[in-house]
């Protein structure tokens, strides 16, 4: 076949190229499977993240510049308006806080009567969000604080609205938080109204969580606020997770599936709070803010 004839050297090169392709593909697939399973590769990956830290820092610079520009270039009227708004918010929040403090004192007294272990105050740390976009299939945030700032793996991430997620990777300068909305994320919750315990999973869609396998007989309604139940010991009890916005029967018709709207603002905000100490130790003098 004259059309098929090419020099033997060229065909040899072809073969070597194909073999190299297959070798690289095999390594890639092996890495994919190992990384997907978790285990030692994930830990090695956390170590390797140190390499890409400078890239994150560089990519985060524009976001930081925009922020500082916004802060410094705000006109006087804008600043006055913002100041006024913040002052009003402070008044409202403080009024609420006073009421809560009264409730907390009463709560402590009642707990004392019951002889139960008291809950301590919140010890939190403010961490700025580095504004860079990670892989859109995974719901992650990069925080501009790492082990040098005392961030630890497994720390609970909060914002003003409620639970945001948890820290899953820590490098010296940065850390990565897994958001509630990641499909890999689950959090044990309880209905604030009826105390029914559920598990809320992420959907991969920011702005929607899902609570599956709700028994038909369970006292769960649309509009119920869900708070962490403290089961599983990763998330301390009592943080707002979200609100049930819809309930429908699942495929088996034996259980309900609830759509949950997260309470935290999970799109790119400015700062988040990292829970430093799990409020489990008895602290009589501290007040719950």
């Amino acid at each position: 076949m004259p059309t098929y004839a090419s020099s033997p050297a060229f065909r040899g090169g072809d073969l070597v190229g194909t073999l190299r392709l297959l070798a690289y593909l095999a390594i890639s697939v092996a890495l994919l499977v190992l990384d997907h399973r978790g285990g030692w590769l994930s830990q090695a990956r956390t170590k390797a993240d140190v390499i890409v830290q400078p890239l994150w820092t560089v990519a985060g610079l524009p976001g930081r510049a925009v922020r500082s520009l916004h802060d410094s270039a705000g006109t006087r009227t804008q600043l006055v308006a913002e100041n006024e708004r913040l002052r009003n918010e402070l008044v409202v929040t403080q009024a609420r806080l006073t009421r809560l403090q009264a409730a907390a004192v009463e709560n402590n007294r009642l707990r004392g009567l019951l002889g139960a272990v008291e809950r301590g105050g919140l010890d939190v740390q403010l961490a700025p969000i580095l504004s860079i976009d990670l892989d859109p299939t995974r719901q992650r945030l990069v925080l501009d604080a790492g082990s040098n700032d005392g961030v630890r793996q497994g720390q609970v991430v909060l914002d003003a609205g409620g639970l945001v997620g948890q820290v899953i990777e820590v490098t010296p300068g940065h850390s990565i938080a897994l958001l509630l909305t990641d499909p890999d994320h689950a959090v044990p919750v309880a209905s604030a109204r009826s105390g029914v315990r559920l598990v809320v999973y992420g959907t991969g869609d920011s702005g929607r969580l899902t609570a599956t396998n709700i028994p038909l007989s369970a006292d769960v309604q649309v509009g119920d606020a869900l708070v962490t139940s403290g089961l599983g010991e990763r998330f301390p009890a009592g943080f707002v997770v979200g609100e049930i916005v819809a309930l429908q029967p699942d495929d088996s018709r034996a259980f309900l599936v609830g759509d949950v709207r997260p309470a935290a603002q999970l799109d790119r905000g400015r700062d988040v709070l990292l829970l430093r100490a799990a409020p489990a130790r008895p602290a009589a003098t501290e007040t719950v803010p």
Binding site: Y24, V29, V52, S131
Partner: protein, 161 residues
């Protein structure tokens, strides 16, 4: 001297491509984010095949996986496949006019999306929403500017010799 310059432009452009991929975009524009790393790598595979091959594609992909937080090996696999196809058709692609090259790059980026979706489905990870399939179009449009920019960077570095 020229060698040192060339050695400097290649990794710098790849790192820049990764950083461009990380830059924050408004939520609406995020699906349109072009795959900068693939564009830059395609340039080097076409223009400097003695420096850019499967090995470089694999390493750049791994680095991008670490930086973007995607599954380790996903982008490595996608870029290795793209590089292999480019190497096979390099002799023909190099002499295409830029608009024809753009079409070929668009097809490669589309193929890359398909591979990405296949990987996600195989691992049971949620695939990307449909709006992300428009990104190859933008990548196609950007091939010309990227090509010219990298060419001037490389040639400029050469002339400094």
């Amino acid at each position: 001297m020229s060698r040192a310059h060339r050695a400097w432009v290649l990794p710098a452009s790849l790192l820049l491509a990764i950083v461009l991929g990380l830059l924050p975009l408004p939520q609406v524009l995020q699906p349109l984010r072009p795959y900068w790393l693939a564009l830059v790598l395609a340039y080097w595979v076409l223009e400097a095949p003695e420096h850019a091959g499967l090995g470089l594609a694999f390493i750049a992909g791994l680095l991008a996986d670490l930086a973007f937080g995607s599954q380790l090996g996903e982008q490595a696999l996608r870029l290795v496949v793209m590089t292999f196809i480019l190497q096979r058709f390099r002799a023909r692609l190099r002499f295409f006019p830029v608009w024809q090259q753009s079409l070929a790059i668009g097809a490669l980026l589309l193929n890359d999306r398909v591979i990405g979706m296949a990987v996600h489905l195989a691992l049971g990870v949620q695939p990307l929403p449909w709006s992300y399939w428009f990104a190859p179009l933008l990548g196609m449009v950007l091939w010309g500017p990227v090509y010219v920019a990298l060419d001037t960077m490389r040639m400029g570095a050469w002339r400094k010799r």
